[in-house]
C-alpha cells in the first residue's frame, strides 16, 4: 500500500487553541521519539536495556492525537508502540528508563520489561504479550463503566496484525453486543513483525472488519495528530452517548524493525523513504511554523527542553538499583 495522502485536518477552533494543541502534539511526539531513540539506539546497544525493545517510531501521532482527547477518568490500554500515552498520563520518563533497564523505579519494579507496564491510578493498563489480549479486557472495563453509570470510555490500542487474533474478535463482539463505551484504535503500520498485511488479512482495511460487529469505523491519516484527535473526539462522543464501540484505523508505517534486533530487511527500502517523508514530527514542526502557531525558535526550544529532560531522566534512572533478589517471591498474591 502506498502512503495515505490525506489533506492535513483543520480543526474547528481558534488559532490560539490550535497553536496550543500543536505545541502539545509536538512535545509529546518528540518526547516519545527522543526517549525511544535513547532506549533503542543507545541504552540497548550499550547493553543496559535487556530483553526486547519495540518502539513506535513514525507512529507517534497515534497515541498523542488520541491520548490528548481522553479525560482522566477514561482508561487507556496502550499497545507496545504507544509510549506517549504514559507521558500524557503523567508517567515520568525516568520511570520509563528505569522500567527498560529493569530497575526498581520502573513501573513494574523490574518484574516485567519494556512496554509491559501500567498504573491503575493513572488509568493505564499494562499489556500482556499476547497480541489483542487487551481487547476483551478493555471491553470489560467499558462494560464496568456503563454498569457504574459513568460516561467515561475505555480506549484500546493494537496493531494490524493483532486483528487476526481470536481475542480481538471476541472482545469487539462482546463490547458491541453490550454497547459498551469502547474506542478501538488500530495502528495499521502494514507489518506484523515480518509479515505484511497481505499475509495477515484478505480485506483491504482493518476498518472493513467493523461491519461484522455493527459498529462505525473510520480511516485516518495515522501520521497527523490533528486527524487522529478529531476522529477520536467523534469516537469518544459516540461511546459516551451510549452508542457502543467505535473503531479508528490509523494508516501509518513502522519506521524501524519490529524490535531493536530486527534490521527489517524484508521491508522494501522505498517504503521507508516514502513514509519517512511523512514523519509526523517533522510535519508538525513545519506546519506550526507555516500556520504561525510557533516560531522556529519556539519549536527548537521545545526539542531542546525534551533533550534536557531526557538526559536527566536517564541519569536518574541509571542510579536506580536493581530489585533485591529477596523481592522475588513477594506479591504473587495479596499480602496477608
Amino acid at each position: 500500500m502506498a502512503a495515505v495522502k490525506l489533506e492535513a485536518v483543520h480543526i474547528d477552533r481558534g488559532t490560539e487553541a490550535k497553536a496550543e494543541l500543536s505545541r502539545k502534539f509536538l512535545y509529546y511526539m518528540a518526547l516519545m521519539r527522543e526517549v525511544e531513540e535513547r532506549i533503542e539506539r543507545r541504552l540497548y546497544r550499550q547493553g543496559k536495556v535487556l530483553g526486547g525493545v519495540y518502539v513506535g517510531r513514525g507512529q507517534e501521532a497515534i497515541p498523542v492525537g488520541s491520548g490528548l482527547v481522553a479525560r482522566p477518568d477514561d482508561v487507556l490500554f496502550p499497545s507496545h508502540r504507544d509510549l506517549a500515552l504514559y507521558f500524557i498520563r503523567g508517567v515520568h520518563p525516568r520511570n520509563v528508563f528505569a522500567q527498560y533497564m529493569g530497575r526498581v523505579d520502573g513501573l513494574t519494579r523490574g518484574r516485567d520489561g519494556n512496554m509491559h507496564m501500567g498504573d491503575l491510578s493513572k488509568g493505564l493498563v499494562a499489556i500482556i504479550s499476547a497480541m489483542a489480549a487487551s481487547v476483551p479486557v478493555a471491553a470489560g472495563a467499558a462494560m464496568a463503566m456503563k454498569y457504574q453509570g459513568r460516561d467515561s470510555v475505555a480506549m484500546v490500542y493494537f496493531g494490524d496484525g493483532a486483528t487476526s487474533r481470536g481475542d480481538w474478535h471476541e472482545g469487539i463482539n462482546l463490547a458491541s453486543v453490550q454497547k459498551a463505551p469502547l474506542v478501538l484504535l488500530c495502528n495499521n503500520n502494514q507489518y506484523a513483525y515480518s509479515t505484511p498485511l497481505s499475509k495477515q488479512m484478505a480485506c483491504q482495511n482493518v476498518a472493513d472488519r467493523a461491519v461484522g460487529y455493527g459498529i462505525p469505523a473510520e480511516i485516518v491519516d495515522g501520521n497527523d495528530p490533528f486527524a487522529i484527535y478529531e476522529a477520536t473526539r467523534r469516537a469518544v462522543e459516540h461511546a459516551r452517548a451510549g452508542n457502543g464501540p467505535y473503531l479508528i484505523e490509523c494508516k501509518t508505517f513502522r519506521m524501524t524493525g519490529h524490535s531493536a534486533h530486527d534490521p527489517a530487511d524484508y521491508v522494501p527500502k522505498k517504503m521507508f523513504e516514502e513514509w519517512g517523508a511523512m514523519c509526523p514530527i517533522q510535519r508538525m514542526q513545519n506546519r506550526m511554523v507555516e500556520e504561525g502557531w510557533a516560531t522556529g525558535e519556539e519549536v527548537s526550544d521545545i526539542l531542546a527542553r525534551i533533550r534536557k529532560e531526557t538526559d536527566e531522566a536517564i541519569e536518574w534512572a541509571e542510579k536506580s538499583p536493581y530489585p533485591d533478589p529477596s523481592e522475588l517471591t513477594e506479591r504473587v498474591y495479596e499480602p496477608k
Binding site: 482508561v75 513501573l107 513494574t108 518484574r111 516485567d112 509491559h116 507496564m117 501500567g118 498504573d119 491503575l120 493498563v125 499494562a126 500482556i128 504479550s129 499476547a130 489480549a133 481487547v135 476483551p136 479486557v137 478493555a138 471491553a139 470489560g140 472495563a141 467499558a142 462494560m143 464496568a144 463503566m145 454498569y147 457504574q148 475505555a154 481470536g166 481475542d167 471476541e170 472482545g171 463482539n173 462482546l174 453486543v177 453490550q178 506479591r331 504473587v332 498474591y333 495479596e334
Partner: protein
Amino acid sequence: MPTTYVEAIREGIREEMERDPNVFLLGEDIGIYGGAFKVTQGLLDQFGERRIVDTPISESAIVGAAIGASFMGLRPVAEMQFSDFISCGFDQIVNYAAKCRYRWNAPVPIVVRAPCGGGIHGGPFHSQQNEAWFAHTPGLKVVLPATARDAKGLIKAAIRDNDPVVFFEHKALYRRVKEELPEGEYTVEIGKANVHRVGSDISVITYAAMVHTAAEAAEIVAKDGISVEVVDLRTLTPLDEETILESVKKTSKAIVLHEANLTGGFGGEIAARITEKVFEYLDGPVLRIAAPDTPVPFSSTLEEAYLPSVDQVVEKLRWLAAY
C-alpha cells in the same frame, strides 16, 4: 431443610450480590435460562440484566471482560458452561489474570466458576478435571469444594478474595450431596483443608467428588479395623501443607486420590511433598489413585472403569494397611 451443593453455591452468590453491589455475573445462558446446571436460576429475576450478563460464546472474552471490569472496582463472577471450555479462555486466565498483581501490582479479584468432573455421561468434553493446569500457574487460587457447606462458604470467600480464583464445581455433586447449612452468614477460608474424617492408620488426601469416594471406602475398611483419615484439601492453591503433613505424621501412611488423570495430576505434587517433608515418618510408599491416562470416555462401561472407585480405594487401603 437440607441444602444441595448447587443451591448452596446459588445462595452464596446471592448473598454476596446482596451484600456488595459490585458483584455481577457474566457467562453463557446464565440469565433467563439460569445456567446449564441452573446454578444461577432465579438470580436474573432478583438482580436484573445489569448484574446478570448473558454473553456470546466467547470464553476468552468472558474471562478478559471479567478482568477488565475488576480493574474498575467490580467483582465479576464468570461462568464457564463446562470446565472443559476453560481451555478456550486459557490465555486470559493463566497469562492475564494470574500475573497482573505480580507484574504491576494490579489486583484481579475475579472468580471463574467451572463445572467439572465425570459421572454424568458427558464424554471427553463435558467431564474434565483440569485443575492441575491452574494449580501450576502462580497467581491463581484453585478451589474445589466437596460439600454443600464448603461450596457456599468457599464461593463467598472466593468472591471476596482479592486474587483470581478458579472455582471448580463438581457436576456430579450438584444434586447428589446435601446437608443442613449453618444458620446465617459464614465463609470458609480459602487455603484451609478440612479433616473430613478422623482416623489413625492411613491418610487419604483428596478433594472434590473423591472425598465422598474416600469416605465410603473408609467406612468399609473400618469394619476390618483400619482407621482411615480423610483429608479434604478444598483448595489446591494455596495448599494447606500443614494439615496434610500433620495427618501423615500421625498415620505414617498416605494415599493421594483424585479424579483427574494420574500422570501430571496434582496428586504427584502432594505425594512429592509428603515424601520430601515427612520421609522419616513414612511406614510405606505414598500411593496414588487417579483416573488412567485417557480422555474421559462416554459409554457407561468405560466411564465406570475410568473413574476411581470405592473398590479401588478399598483395595489400596487394605494393601497399605498390611504393608
